[in-house]
């Protein structure tokens, strides 16, 4: 017979003001198997924990129920406490009488009744608990950061500075990401390149960081502590081991195609560096436009190169590397507004540009060397209309969410135009102006002082008339239609997850939310973790963010990785699925249903009567299993059971509640 101790927490008045401990504690004392019950103001406090420990030895308690807050809050606290006692940390159940009782009920009498029911369930369950023991898995002391934007750069630098090896993987020919494309950053207006390129150089020079640009993840297997990642190095056609990045090859290339970095506002050759400050500062050949690779005719760059770096026969290679942890820093892209907004011309009007195209335009290293000129005729615009929330906050046509950074960079764009083009006029069409951030509201105020005209309303239509763009919309504060004749229109478009996120998250087993952003493990308490152990999040792959938030999150993710890599092995949760081999028929229903790819079929030797046979049974990988329990529901014969949540334990709870 089990000897159960029940400890009821008041949580100050959080619980005790609604649930009556003077009724609950005596009621618990009467429950089957309970040998001791007590209540205290704060069970999680030091004296509270001491009281539990003393009671365990004094009353010979072999398992406990703590009626308190959510187990997500303090279950680990109490498990740690039990490590110093005679009982196993898993001989513990938490009855949540705060979030699921006192906080949500007003009727004290009935809330107390419910609390008694919740404690009765926990007492029934704990009577079926069994000691569980954690397993240890070794940790490969090496991190992979996927994505070389500012988030990936920051995370890689932090981990490397802590003394661990990092591979920073980037699919473009250079790291830098979107931040490298920006001109100035709000609200301080410091030059984006001036603050990001030194970090890029640091990455390139850091002894603990290996840069893998022009690479993509091909497959991921394994689990926290030991991921095996197949990385595909795309063919560069330039031998980076000997190339010095002199740039001679780029000068005579006869091909001219739209520059990705300048978003089509300028041209680049087929052999190119993404941008002048690219890291690594060495070119690659774009095989889709190179004449030599397409038609076998040209070869000018090979003739020009003084070191013979050009290798037209270069091929993609796949290497497999081991990592202990992975940081996703895959960033965002802007939505294709032209496909979504026919009323804005659907991309027909050259003088309607996206915010990011404006960044390139106003950038001194951009296609116009920083002069704000209309793409159509190269004339300086006198009137500019900025439209915010294009694709954001528009559930019908675009995304329902707010892209968070646009209010601020719209203000920045307005400020830059008004500063660079004296006498110009800027109209900003907005739904709301959201400026939560240090110095943000002040910056917005300043922009209005500069002369930017904020008009509350959406633009319903833009059409061309006499060489200008007529923007028609509603001023919802005046309640009247307005029409602005603009020379140029900037659309501050919504962020969406980078292309390719689906494949990558599927390989990792990480979940995505309704908008395809990668889902964090808990929106408040585990914001940089994913549900997959060892996979962390940095930057906009988790949701729209500005640079300060991105960098903070990158450092937070790095801290998590450093904490993990500092250990040589780690304990896995013992609350995972266990297979009863005798029952398992090897049907594999669990294999297909496991979100974490934690179950495989394993061949075992068995006997059938006098005959020796080999048959397959399910086998759970303790490093991968997250204890979700999907397999236990899928297993018809009940060969799989979740330790800590065995079917028998749950039925015991249900019986306690219903019978």
């Amino acid at each position: 017979m089990s000897r159960i101790g029940v400890f009821v927490c008041h949580c100050g008045t959080n619980i005790a003001s609604v649930v009556d401990p003077d009724r609950l504690t005596p009621a618990a004392r009467e429950m089957p198997g309970v040998v001791y019950a007590a209540d205290y103001r704060y069970m999680c406090s030091e004296p509270g924990q001491q009281m539990i420990k003393d009671s365990i030895s004094e009353h010979g308690i072999d398992r406990i129920v703590i009626a308190s807050c959510s187990p997500r809050m303090h279950e680990t606290t109490f498990r740690k406490m039990l490590k110093g006692t005679s009982i196993n940390p898993y001989m513990l159940e938490i009855a949540n009488i705060r979030e699921q009782c006192s906080w949500v009920h007003a009727d004290k009498g009935r809330a107390t009744e419910k609390a008694i029911g919740l404690v009765r369930m926990a007492v029934s369950k704990v009577s079926k608990n069994e000691p569980l023991y954690a397993q240890s898995i070794p940790i490969t002391k090496r991190a992979l950061v996927i994505g070389g934007g500012i988030a990936g750069i920051q995370a890689a630098l932090d981990i490397a500075d802590a003394g661990h090896e990092v591979v920073l993987l980037e699919r473009e020919p250079s790291i830098g990401g979107k931040m490298a494309m920006l001109d100035k950053t709000f609200p301080t207006l410091d030059c984006s390149a001036c603050i990001s390129t030194p970090k890029m150089v640091d990455v390139g020079a850091h002894p603990n960081i290996r840069l893998m640009t022009y690479c993509e993840v091909e497959s991921v297997s394994g689990y926290i502590g030991s991921f095996e990642v197949a990385i595909r190095q795309k063919a560069r056609y330039v031998n980076h081991d000997i190339c010095t990045g002199c740039g001679l090859c780029e000068t005579k290339c006869p091909v001219k195609v739209d520059s990705e970095f300048n978003l089509g506002l300028s041209k680049r050759p087929a052999i190119y560096k993404l941008f002048p400050q690219a890291v690594p500062s060495k070119p690659v050949i774009d095989s889709e436009s190179c004449r030599m690779l397409k038609d076998g005719k040209c070869g000018i760059c090979a003739k020009l190169c003084p070191l013979g770096c050009i290798d037209y026969k270069d091929e993609a290679r796949t290497v497999t590397e081991s990592f202990g942890a992975i940081i996703m820093a895959t960033g965002y892209q802007l939505v294709d507004w032209a496909a979504m907004y026919g009323e804005y011309g659907g991309g027909r009007y050259r003088d309607i540009i996206s915010g990011l195209q404006f960044e390139r335009t106003v950038n001194a290293a951009g296609p116009t060397e920083g002069h704000i000129l209309r793409p159509s005729d190269g004339r300086e615009p006198e009137t500019v209309v900025i439209v915010k929330c294009v694709g954001s906050r528009d559930p019908k046509k675009g995304k329902s969410y707010c892209s968070r950074a646009c209010c601020m960079y719209a203000a920045k764009h307005a400020h830059q135009i008004l500063e660079k083009l004296p006498g110009s006029r800027v109209f900003i069409f907005y739904i709301d102006v959201r400026t939560p951030g240090k110095g943000y509201e002040e910056f917005y105020d300043q922009t209005r002082m500069d002369g930017a005209v904020y008009v509350r309303g959406r633009i319903s239509k833009i059409y061309e008339e006499d060489g200008g763009l007529v923007c028609q919309g509603e001023d919802s504060l005046l309640g009247s239609q307005v029409r602005v004749r603009a020379d140029m229109v900037i659309l501050e478009t919504a962020m969406e997850p980078s292309q390719g996120i689906e494949g990558l998250t599927s390989m990792l087993g990480a979940a995505r939310d309704a908008n395809n952003w990668i889902q964090e493990a808990h929106p408040k308490l585990r914001p940089v973790e994913t549900q997959v152990g060892g996979v962390f999040l940095a930057g906009t792959c988790q949701g729209p963010k500005d640079i300060p938030d991105t960098v903070s999150q990158a450092s937070a993710a790095a801290a998590k990785v450093i904490g993990l890599l500092n250990k040589s092995e780690m304990e896995t949760s013992p609350m995972i699925s266990a297979v009863e081999r005798d029952k398992c028929s090897g049907c594999g229903a669990c294999v297909g249903i496991c979100p974490y790819k934690a179950i495989t079929l394993q061949e075992i030797d068995d006997r059938l009567g006098a005959k020796r046979i080999k048959r397959e049974v399910a086998s759970v990988n303790s490093g991968l299993c997250q204890g979700c329990g999907a397999c236990t529901a899928a297993c018809r014969t009940g060969a799989l059971d979740l330790l800590g949540f065995r079917n028998g334990q749950i039925l015991e709870e249900v019986d306690a509640l219903c019978l």
Binding site: S585, C587, G592, I593, I613, R615
Partner: protein, 278 residues
């Protein structure tokens, strides 16, 4: 008919004589002229006892589960229903394709109620085909019976299924006949599951019915063996078919056992699953 029966006998005899298979599963005569019985022929001489007539109603695939680790290949006469069962068993990792020799026998329609809904007379997988494929008879509306039950009011429906399960004698013939039921130990045979009583009562019978439907519903090949085997004549395939109908409405055309690769509907995890209930 006798021509085909002769082909079957010759084929079985040759397979056994060549030592290609350890035994052949087919149909044999009984002392009743309107019944056949499954037979297991393990000698060339025995092949002469095979029969093929309109009374060869039993689906033979289920017997493969009784000999999952054979020393030699098992010869199995396979019609549409046997072949779909085999596909499902291969996918469920219960039998290995290489331990089977499937003798394809396109079906000309049998005298059983269970064949009324047949959608596939010809074997979908076989090693040899003994005669030309048959034209599939246009089946009656696949979900006609389900629709009939759906049209009832909730009270009527409860009375209907309650009445069905009042008559269930819990003999588990439905489970024993089902080619998809392949657990090493069925939950109803376990000592104490905590939710399935052994008593013969409406509620425990219903729990069995519902559990059975959920255990096999998304893999049901609609062979109708459960209903054929039921000594009380209960319309229990209506339950698995209800599951299939729901799946069809939720995710498009869905039919089990047409190949050996498709995952069962409830046996897969997909991040893009519709989760409209969340």
């Amino acid at each position: 008919m006798s021509d085909r029966q002769e082909k079957m006998r010759q084929s079985a005899e040759k397979l056994l004589r060549d030592g290609e298979v350890g035994y052949v599963i087919g149909w044999g005569a009984t002392r009743f002229c309107d019944r056949t019985t499954p037979v297991f022929i393990d000698s060339p001489e025995g092949a002469a006892s095979l029969v093929w007539n309109e009374h060869a109603v039993n689906s033979l695939a289920k017997y493969l589960l009784d000999d999952k680790y054979p020393d030699k290949k098992i010869g199995l006469f396979a019609r549409g229903c046997e072949s779909r069962a085999v596909n499902r068993m291969i996918k469920d990792n219960q039998v290995k394709r290489e331990s089977l020799y499937l003798i394809g026998v396109p079906c000309d329609g049998k005298s059983s109620d269970r064949c009324r809904l047949c959608r596939e007379r010809n074997p979908l997988v076989y090693d040899v085909l003994l005669w030309e494929p048959e034209a599939n008879a246009a089946p009656a509306d696949r979900f006609e019976r389900v629709r009939g039950v759906e049209a009832m009011s909730p009270d009527e429906r409860y009375r209907y299924w309650g009445g069905v399960y009042d008559r269930c004698i819990r003999c588990y013939a439905c489970r024993n006949a089902c080619p998809v039921c392949s657990c090493r130990e069925c939950y109803v045979d376990m000592g104490r599951t905590g939710f399935q009583g052994k008593q013969h009562s409406r509620s425990d019978n219903q729990i069995f019915g519902v559990t059975r439907a959920f255990h096999v519903g998304d893999r049901c090949i609609e062979c109708g063996e459960c209903e054929r085997a039921c000594p009380m004549g209960l319309p229990i395939m209506g339950q698995t078919q209800k599951m299939l109908k729901e799946i069809n409405e939720l995710s498009g055309e869905y039919e089990c056992g047409l190949d050996a690769d498709s995952d069962s509907f409830l046996g897969r995890f997909d991040l893009d699953d519709k989760d409209e209930f969340m």
